[in-house]
Symmetry: C2
Subunit: 107 residues, 2 copies
């Protein structure tokens, strides 16, 4: 994205943007939804479920991991991913409180 001057923005704005960025790709939205709908942990499936190549899925998973939305075992064969519910709820509230700030009535 070019230089992206993150330093001129508040930590809150940067955090919100970072959280939003995770959901800013349909593959990641689909992955998140799929995992969150599973009863237990998921093991594979994702590649055929989503329809992207394995390295691509792996990369997207990594992006999701980086914001702390995934939990579980990540190495070796048969990984076990699941949603970090605390973080999930935190994000939900984060977005919600952002959208709740509207003091404006014009136009």
């Amino acid at each position: 994205m070019g230089i992206s001057k993150t330093h001129i923005f508040s930590p809150r704005h940067n955090e919100l943007a970072k959280a939003a960025k995770v959901m800013a790709h349909p593959a990641r939205v689909a992955i998140l939804e799929y995992i969150s709908k599973q009863e237990g942990c998921i093991c594979t499936d994702l590649v055929e479920e989503i329809g992207l190549a394995q390295p691509t899925i792996s990369q997207h998973l990594n992006e999701i991991k980086k914001v702390g939305l995934l939990e579980g075992t990540f190495e070796g064969k048969n990984l076990c991913y699941c949603i970090n519910r605390e973080k999930w709820v935190e994000l939900q509230q984060f977005f919600n409180s952002f959208f709740s700030v509207i003091h404006q009535n014009c136009c």
Copy 2:
């Protein structure tokens, strides 16, 4: 972003991603918050408020416009931007309902 295979994802996932993308940059988060906190419409200010060059702000505003989050007069001198509240609430609910889907308890 490379080829970005939007066609393999559901419309809902694509829409959510598109909405999230708008908030996926701190400048746009800051802009949205600033406008939403104004009593009436804003006229300028944004450039010095945010701290980016005028063309850059203009571009960001355009991104926000494209998802329908802005309303008002866009041409000429002294434009008048304000939040499209309907769309705003729609997005809030969109995100919220996405985050509400969690059927999972493991790990």
